[in-house]
């Protein structure tokens, strides 16, 4: 067990990611008191029933009182409102961080609200599953995964280092980058793939009933991987797309151009072109395996 890094930690929003981080911090002895604030009574009840926190309630202000570390784990569309309600109650010297999948909008929504003497260190663990809710979290979620921090210029280096240490403490490797760059990388690796998965599964929903039931029945041929991705939380993803609009639209544009080119090749029977494209795509898989992210 490591040294306690934060005497009192507040989680604002407590779903899969928040509850996994709380479990991991407990397991590694990184937190003293764990306080949970979640506006969902159901999430609070689950948290209490499973004993996932030392205190839990629907009042966010109460949760952050006296906290040395406040971690926002809510959909990014809720940050502005959360920021407005908690900012005046943050303890001087506290660190405010988050796990949101978009970083530019998070900095836009929170930077102006954070009081002097509180350190804001935006973060994003590259980990998750398609499940939602505190009951589905697990302490090993972040092991061997990346956590990205995007501290704005002028952030206190000591505060950044403490957040780095937190992620290392739960088994992650930490990278640091500019928020805009983060949002572009994630648009490619996560946001556009999820939008595409939602789309193709949605296309199947619209099929006539007889065909749809067979699509489900015979899904073990590529489609089921998309249904897994498309099972993710709709509010979470709505907020991602609304808040990372420019990067998502830019990458989506490239994708649709590439798809149109393949579509044209199929229509014209251009086998060699198709083969070359497919063979090129295969090389990336090798990179993913070599990077131990497979």
């Amino acid at each position: 067990m490591s040294e306690v890094q934060f005497e009192r930690v507040a989680f604002l929003g407590f779903g899969l990611i928040g509850s996994s981080l709380a479990r991991a911090m407990r397991r590694h002895g990184l937190a003293g008191h764990i306080a949970v604030g979640d506006i969902s009574e159901e999430a609070v009840a689950t948290t209490q029933a499973l004993g996932l926190a030392d205190s839990a309630g629907t009042d966010l202000v109460q949760a952050v009182a006296g906290a040395d570390l406040v971690i926002i784990c809510a959909p990014v569309g809720a940050y502005a409102e959360i920021g407005h309600s908690i900012a005046p109650h943050l303890k001087p010297g506290a660190i405010l961080t988050d796990v949101g999948s978009v970083k530019g909008s998070v900095i836009r929504d929170l930077s102006g609200l954070v009081p002097a003497g509180v350190h804001f260190v935006p973060g994003h663990p590259i980990a998750g599953t398609e499940r939602s809710g505190p009951q589905h979290g697990f302490a090993e979620l972040f092991e061997g995964r990346w956590a990205i921090l995007t501290p704005p210029e002028g952030t206190d280096p000591a505060a950044v280092e403490r957040v780095r240490a937190l992620w290392r403490g739960v088994g992650s490797t930490v990278a640091e980058m500019d928020a805009d760059h983060h949002d572009l990388v994630l648009a490619v690796t996560s946001h556009v793939p999820h939008l595409i998965a939602y789309t193709i599964v949605g296309t199947a929903v619209d099929l006539e009933e007889s065909l749809k039931s067979e699509v489900v029945k015979f899904s073990a041929s590529g489609f089921r991987d998309f249904t897994r991705i498309a099972a993710s939380d709709p509010i979470f993803w709505r907020d991602v797309f609304l808040n990372n609009r420019d990067a998502v639209l830019e990458m989506l544009q490239r994708f649709t151009e590439d798809l149109a080119q393949l579509q044209r090749a199929i229509r014209r029977g251009e086998g060699e072109f198709l083969h070359d494209r497919f063979a090129r795509a295969r090389t990336i898989r090798r990179g993913v395996i070599d990077a131990k992210q497979a």
Copy 2:
């Protein structure tokens, strides 16, 4: 161990699917002699080294000699040529079947070539992995999976029943349908999803080098599932798209319309629309889990 169903079985093409089926037939005692014909010397050498067959060589005609059951397990683009070379050498009373992912083109390419007295029963197991080659096959691949048969009108029911029994013998459940319907269902569940996965991974390949390396590094966020799908055999997939063109283009058209609609909603900030679409897609996942295909 079950009763031997076929004294002599010939596999034409021996990759992941063929070698898995051979392994399963052996394990369940369904085949006497297993002969392999594959034009790839490498595949033949691997087959011999691993002892996956009783005889193996690059001569397809030699492989089918005396076979009671001939199973084509090659990319569907090769069927016409294979049919021309083996048809005159098929044993009277033999059953010719296959595992191809497209069924309309297979019937088009083979029906006219099959000699009188030989029974042609097209088939397609809904199973596979992204790996290729006989070394990656395994006997359990078909357990709990579907196998679809698409016998043309007038096919001998006894021959169909023997192919049904074969798939049941290796653990599959058998469905029967019209070849065109099969091709439409598979366009949705398999062909379009693979094309989309190839496309988005290809889009990533085209990114500037610095961004691309980060896409690989942070792929554990949706993208890596696409890289897995896009690691499949390029020749196999080229042949699928060239041979199931109409159904693929039809479903691709629906998909691109749906994607354009979501793209527009993101551009215009229509959160409610996005949420509704995502929530609808989620219901299909439930169906896949209920159908035990997850």
